[in-house]
């Protein structure tokens, strides 16, 4: 089966300094890959590069256009809009307005639908942020620490949503420190992929990176 996302010899830089290189993996339908590594090892930078927010230093990222749904640390919620208004906006952006009700139900947000996002708890905000993934209708989820501030029950809820997504032919790339209870997920430790210094043959990020 063709891979939904294929990464070849990828090197990424943050602030002009190469931090990861020789990253290689591929994700097919139904697969989940968990990225691990100490703080600052480049998990977020790698995910932002794959999501297309910054160019890679070297290597290739192969994915179908409009295949990737990215979820960052920040949920992108508007405090003065209600839960359902927040979700409806993203659903409309992705042209999937018919999925709002099921996404609210799946992340157990129905009782809060009319509540303004500013009055939600941190965990509830996170659940709303993750519900956004369900209304993108995109096959590859790229998730940066999705379980932050979620309690055990909500982590299980999220794991269920993730399993359903994988069962429907989706794929997921997750950076996390917590075990999200997804037995079938493969783990990739990023520690050995730390970029070498340029004099040892590593890729170097130049000042011109911003103008690439």
């Amino acid at each position: 089966m063709a891979a939904l996302l294929a990464i070849e010899a990828l090197a990424v830089a943050r602030g002009g300094i190469a931090i990861l290189e020789r990253v290689e993996f591929s994700l097919s339908a139904g697969q989940a890959l968990v990225l691990r590594g100490p703080n600052g090892c480049g998990k977020t930078t790698l995910l932002r590069t794959i999501a297309g927010l910054q160019p890679p230093l070297a290597g290739r990222i192969e994915a179908a256009p409009d295949a990737i749904a990215y979820a960052a640390h920040a949920d992108g919620l508007k405090a003065t809009l209600s839960v359902s208004e927040n979700l409806q906006f993203w659903a409309a952006v992705y042209g999937q307005s018919n999925r709002v009700a099921s996404a609210l139900a799946e992340m157990n947000l129905e009782a809060l639908a009319q509540r303004a996002a500013m009055s939600l708890s941190a965990g509830q905000k996170r659940r709303l942020g993750l519900a956004r993934l369900l209304v993108t209708g995109r096959p590859v989820w790229v998730l940066d620490e999705p379980t932050i501030s979620l309690d055990a029950a909500s982590v299980a809820l999220f794991a269920n949503a993730l399993r359903a997504h994988l069962a429907l032919g989706g794929a997921a790339l997750i950076a996390t420190h917590i075990d999200i209870g997804l037995a079938e997920a493969v783990t990739l430790d990023l520690t050995p992929l730390k970029a070498r210094a340029p004099q040892d043959g590593g890729a170097s990020g130049g000042f011109d990176e911003a103008f690439a």
């Binding site: 910054q54 990737i68 990215y70 979820a71 960052a72 992108g76 992705y94």
Partner: protein
């Protein structure tokens, strides 16, 4: 794109959205100027076009840094950048939303404020025309300046310095149009220049602004 426009308009009118801030600022300027200059009608009438345009311009400047700053802080801008809408469209829609919440209210309120400045009768028509034609350029140029400074803490000062020189042509032709209109002179030249500046900025600047945002998100 319509969803984004509706969201931005909805956010602007909800609590803390800043809708009306520019209008209030415009009102303060036009109320204070007669106190500063003195109530003598002839002087006021002569400087009124310039004061109204400077007031509108500064009122517009006041709300520029909000165009992307809030979206940047809560992560929406990252998510919009990965959404199926091109960044150029995001910029255009946000500039349009800024104009609808800032420029349009100024256009509609300006005749009322003109009374405070003893604006002569025939000038009201040209006041509305020049603001309606000129203020879209202010919003689009402002969206470009805001795109350059997105992500900077307290970028407002830098934003003002970047944007003000770009506003000067619009200011010159806008005020000149009112002055000529009220004096009964030929209005075609400043009107066409004003419309030309607006048309060119609306057509070209979103591409520059989108490129600036992409660089700033890295």
């Amino acid at each position: 794109m319509i969803a984004l426009l509706l969201r931005d308009l909805r956010l602007a009118v909800r609590a803390g959205g800043g809708f009306g801030l520019s209008l209030a600022f415009f009102l303060i300027v036009t109320v204070l100027v007669p106190f500063g200059v003195g109530p003598e009608g002839g002087t006021l009438a002569r400087i009124a076009p310039g004061i109204l345009w400077v007031g509108a311009l500064l009122a517009c400047l006041l709300s520029l840094d909000r165009i992307y700053a809030l979206d940047f802080e809560d992560g929406s801008l990252d998510l919009l950048a990965t959404a199926p809408i091109p960044m150029e469209a995001v910029v255009s829609v946000k500039a349009l939303a800024h104009w609808l919440t800032t420029g349009l209210p100024l256009v509609l309120a300006a005749p009322v404020f003109g009374v405070l400045l003893h604006l002569p009768g025939p000038a009201y028509f040209w006041l509305v025309i020049s603001l309606a034609v000129g203020t879209p350029a202010l919003s689009v140029l402002g969206a470009f300046g805001a795109a350059l400074t997105v992500g900077l803490k307290r970028g407002g000062l830098l934003l003002s310095l970047l944007v003000l020189p770009l506003y000067v042509p619009t200011l010159i032709f806008g005020a000149e149009l009112i002055a000529r209109g009220s004096a009964g002179g030929a209005t075609a030249t400043p009107l066409l220049m004003l419309a030309g500046i607006t048309a060119a900025t609306v057509a070209l600047v979103p591409f520059a602004a989108a490129a600036a945002i992409r660089v700033n998100l890295r």
